[in-house]
């Protein structure tokens, strides 16, 4: 097991290197750079040209691309994500607290998704082809088809504008967490519910479920202790992908609800052409994705004793 973890961790290195290269490439290919954008129309041409040259030098933009890339990789290896072109603040300061915000939102949404998705999926499977199944699968279909921002606006309209229970825009407190977490949670719950249902249907038709019934175990015990752990493998895969999505920053939802996470930051950074921040956001979300996937793979062995990474 330890060997496997070490191997997987080592494999992260080339992945991260690839991500660094791609984000760097994006920066290099974008026609307008942040420095020009920063000064456009603010000062006279001469002064601007001088300042631009200075800043270019500071960000090594005057060097050939491979040297720029080398410096970038070197800095990242030293956990130096650079300075924001716009605010001149270290990127890590900005990303740090926003990453925590995104974590809070992602895990709240995940809890909503797991509770709603698993409960509706299991009920649907158990009461297959009854009104319970049809209702929850129809609502789930709506959840999958509906764009997140639309559901967000609907919830804002109902709970913030009409009922005035919750704030329209983020204040960073618990109340302003509720709506974005519900929005994201419901959208993710829809997919999770479908996976849970089909997986549970498969498991419930297996011989060992019949054995459990023949043993006189109660239906709820069979459902939770015999069926769910077997269905959990595919559910876990789905949850892993969803955590990746959520932690990568739910861009639109964070913007709509004014939630100061890395998704919102990414959108701003792109508007500002602030390449250091954009690069950093991509790096952090991609890294999170890779890490979550490793955790999920390790959890498989815990969920299913037949899976083993020993040689």
């Amino acid at each position: 097991m330890a060997n496997y973890v070490i191997r997987r961790l080592l494999m992260i290195i080339p992945i991260i290197f690839g991500i660094l290269f791609l984000t760097f490439l994006i920066k290099a290919l974008i026609p307008t750079d942040a420095v020009s954008a920063l000064f456009s129309g603010t000062v006279s041409e001469d002064k601007a040209a001088e300042a631009i040259a200075q800043i270019r030098e500071k960000y090594h933009l005057d060097l050939p691309w491979y040297r720029q890339f080398g410096i970038y990789v070197w800095d990242v290896m030293h956990l130096d994500l650079g300075e924001s072109v716009r605010t001149r603040q270290p990127v890590i300061d900005e990303i740090g607290f926003r990453y925590v915000n995104t974590l809070i939102l992602a895990f709240s949404a995940l809890i909503v998704a797991i509770v709603v998705g698993l409960v509706t999926g299991m009920l649907s499977a158990y009461f297959k082809n009854t009104w319970i199944d049809v209702t929850s699968m129809s609502v789930g279909m709506m959840g999958i088809s509906m764009p997140a921002f639309f559901l967000g606006f609907v919830l804002i309209f109902i709970f913030s504008v009409q009922l005035r229970w919750l704030p329209v825009i983020g204040r960073g407190d618990f109340q302003s967490l509720i709506l974005p977490a519900l929005t994201l949670g419901f959208i993710e719950a829809a997919a999770l519910s479908r996976v849970t249902r089909s997986s549970m249907l498969d498991v419930l038709s297996r011989e060992y479920i019949r054995t459990a019934r023949a043993k006189g175990m109660s239906e709820s015990y069979i459902l939770f202790r015999h069926a769910l752990p077997n269905a959990f493998l595919s559910i876990l895969t789905m949850i892993g992908l969803q955590i990746g999505n959520l932690l990568g920053g739910a861009f639109i939802i964070e913007v709509i609800f004014g939630w100061h996470g890395i998704g919102e930051l990414a959108v701003k950074a792109i508007q500002w052409r602030d390449f250091t921040i954009t690069q950093a956001v991509i790096l952090v979300s991609a890294g999170t994705y890779v890490f979550v996937n490793l955790i999920v793979d390790l959890l498989y062995t815990w969920v299913d004793p037949r899976i083993s990474y020993e040689e």
Binding site: T211, K215, G216, M217, S218, E219, V303, D304
Partner: protein, 326 residues
């Protein structure tokens, strides 16, 4: 003597797109205290569905649509969920054909025994564990204490069936229904499992209902035998009579299709034809199209009216050719 388990006119049907499949269509069976009842028949004769029906374990789209099942005088079909779970695994238990897939793959075999003990008895975790280990020992699992935390995929088929037997007999049930318990196992293992079943059931006084298509196993183990064909019992008698003096032409066919050791036959005798499809079940006697006796006697009634189960000296038989049938 009243029977321990009594099945009367059982009808279990499956609703399919092609119509209703009458998998079990009017089966009568009696299981007496401590005896071994063999149920034999070809694939598709309804023997497994009969066995599953006894514990109301038939899955959708199957449904018990008629008849009665009584255990110890109590009506099983009208039991509520709670009474049913009290009956299952405790008073009547069951083992199946594919032991490895019948054990839950993500729960240790030890816990699959202890959960049963805890469900039916007021017992501490430690006691349950000790009981489970001694049960594993008694079914011949070596190193039981270690194997307690093993999983199904770590066991061989024979070992898995031993574990299933340990689970089924954990609470000393009064009836054990074994549905083709050795069919999926190696021949050498089959004998061991049969021997184990015989020994443990005798020890506990548990009645054994042995569902099988293997007449050898029946001859070895059973006290009485019910022969099933196309969802009905066609003959039921004690094991000696069945082998020495089979009444029903189907039983005769089954017995003569067994190769006899020492006799070198040019070809093995087989019953011509196949078990009728549920969609075109013969209207009267279901065996009539394949029946040599009907052809040689030139009987018309076999295709006109279904024969009733007729009591004979040693049991009962469903055939027009039997004396007193018409």
């Amino acid at each position: 003597m009243t029977a321990l388990l009594e099945i009367e006119n059982l009808q279990t049907h499956f609703k399919t797109e092609g119509g209703v499949v009458r998998a079990v269509d009017g089966v009568d069976l009696k299981v007496n205290e401590g005896e071994v009842l063999g149920i034999v028949g070809e694939s598709g004769s309804g023997k497994t569905v009969t066995a599953l029906s006894a514990l109301r374990l038939v899955d959708e789209p199957g449904k018990i649509v008629g008849g009665s099942i009584r255990y110890d005088g109590r009506d099983v079909l009208s039991m509520n969920k709670k009474e049913l779970t009290q009956l299952r695994g405790d008073r009547i238990s069951m083992i199946f054909q594919q032991p490895r897939v019948c054990l839950n793959p993500v729960i240790s075999i030890g816990r699959q025994i202890t959960e049963l003990l805890k469900q039916h008895r007021d017992i501490s975790s430690k006691e349950a564990r000790n009981t489970a280990i001694s049960l594993l020992n008694s079914v011949g699992i070596p190193d039981a204490e270690k194997r307690f935390s093993a999983y199904a995929h770590e066991l061989s088929g024979g070992q898995a069936q031993r574990v299933m037997i340990a689970i089924a007999l954990a609470l000393k049930p009064r009836v054990l229904i074994a549905d083709e318990p050795t069919t999926a196992l190696d021949v050498t293992i089959q004998a061991q499992i049969i021997e184990l079943l015989r020994e443990l059931c005798r020890e506990m006084g548990t009645a054994l209902v042995l569902v099988t298509h293997d007449l050898g196993v029946v001859a070895e183990l059973a006290d009485r035998v019910a022969v099933m064909y196309a969802g009905q019992v066609v003959e039921e008698t004690d094991v000696e009579t069945l082998f020495s003096n089979p009444q029903h032409p189907y039983t005769q066919g089954l017995l003569s299709s067994m190769p006899v050791l020492g006799q070198r036959a040019e070809r093995l005798t087989a019953i011509p034809g196949t078990v009728p499809k549920p969609s075109d079940m013969p209207p009267a006697c279901r065996f009539a199209p394949r029946c040599k006796t009907r052809i040689s006697l030139g009987m018309d009634i076999c295709n006109q009216e279904p024969p009733q189960l007729l009591r004979t000296a040693k049991g009962s038989v469903r055939c027009w050719a039997i004396e007193g049938a018409s």
